[in-house]
Symmetry: none
């Protein structure tokens, strides 16, 4: 990655956009800006930024939709800006594929801290393998090994594990996992996620009945734990 992070800021409000651009420049970033989702998507193709800061409330196609479109072709990190401190937005945001979200009004240095955190995480991820205890996930080869032995994961199991390992230590709700792994909304809940988690545990955990890697977060969902 370039020594100076290159950001694309998509925000329609002139005052906020200019202010954030100024602030982020002062924090040592290179910044490109766009005032609409359409412009943002175009600029994205031209300029290849390292990270996108994206307002949710945009005229025309909204931030969530922009997020989804970007995700269809690109994996670069996205930080959502949302006006409401509403948790619902947070959930929808992460489900649409964002890496982080920040509630407006936002201080420049807070945004900067989040940006750096996401970029750091990205660097870790871009390495081709991740290790969790005796488990090694090779993203390039798309293989998972336990104690050096190759695990035969099915496509869905693998996607589930990859999504969990994209955010190690972070609890993900069943809804979030459904969107991330299965890419569809459920209105009611189903045992689908549970069933897949169970199958994954059977292959991944040393003692599937008392899992140490894929932990249940009661009332929420699941979380991939990093062993100390």
């Amino acid at each position: 990655m370039a020594p100076v992070p290159f950001l694309l800021l998509i925000e329609d409000d002139d005052a906020i956009r200019t202010a954030l651009e100024l602030s982020l420049s002062r924090q040592g970033h290179r910044v490109a800006t766009a005032a609409s989702g359409e412009d943002g998507l175009l600029l994205l193709k031209e300029q290849r930024p390292d990270l996108i800061v994206l307002d949710v409330m945009l005229p025309g196609i909204d931030g969530f939709e922009v997020c989804r479109r970007i995700r269809r072709t690109d994996q670069l990190p996205i930080i959502l800006l949302t006006a409401r401190s509403d948790d619902i937005d947070v959930v929808v945001g992460l489900e649409s594929g964002a890496d982080d979200y920040v509630v407006k009004p936002v201080q420049g240095r807070v945004l900067d801290a989040r940006i750096r955190a996401v970029l750091r995480r990205g660097e870790r991820e871009s390495t081709d393998s991740a290790t969790y205890g005796s488990l090694v996930i090779d993203r390039a080869a798309m293989t998972v090994t336990k104690n050096g032995l190759d695990l035969q994961l099915t496509p869905t199991e693998l996607r589930l594990l990859l999504e969990l390992s994209r955010r190690p230590g972070q609890a993900l709700s069943r809804q979030q996992l459904l969107r991330l792994v299965w890419e569809h909304d459920y209105l009611g809940d189903s045992r689908l996620v549970d069933a897949c988690v169970q199958r994954l545990r059977a292959k991944v955990e040393d003692v599937p009945s008392s899992p140490t890697l894929i932990r249940t977060v009661r009332g929420v969902g699941y979380r991939l734990d990093v062993p100390a």
Copy 2:
């Protein structure tokens, strides 16, 4: 790592303003200044500082009022400057939404220390974890640890703690907590909140019988205290 903090100093006395500006610049801050509340509010919109240092005694709209107006739309940190060491001012100031409070005459390096303290606090809060004494709340992982040991909180206990920690130092009534945590209104009162608080204390407090974190506010409800 520290990017240069950008401050807005609102102070009508020319001598003090110039002196503080000079001093703060020497401490490594970037400083914008305004000589009145009106100018300050305008500059705020344009420049988006990281923090505001605000004199209480201003011609026209006074500091408290400026503070309240800022708070209506913004959450950025505010440090109040006052000439009087009067305690009443402290109370009014903190009630109007200030984050800290410094009595004039103030040395530049003292103000600098306060500024850095407030900014640090802001950065901590902006991350997904919060610390109260030996207690660490990780909002992303949905875990709570005490002295590094993982506490097994139940979903409701966790929600209760999260809601309290969203407003540290603020007393919340049982009604408010019922709405926030249980999401339903009760007409009569019940011991429900008390019971949950008790269970939470049993896990969170060092000495549950004399709680230091989750304090009872008689006749009102409960409050999460930040240890000094």
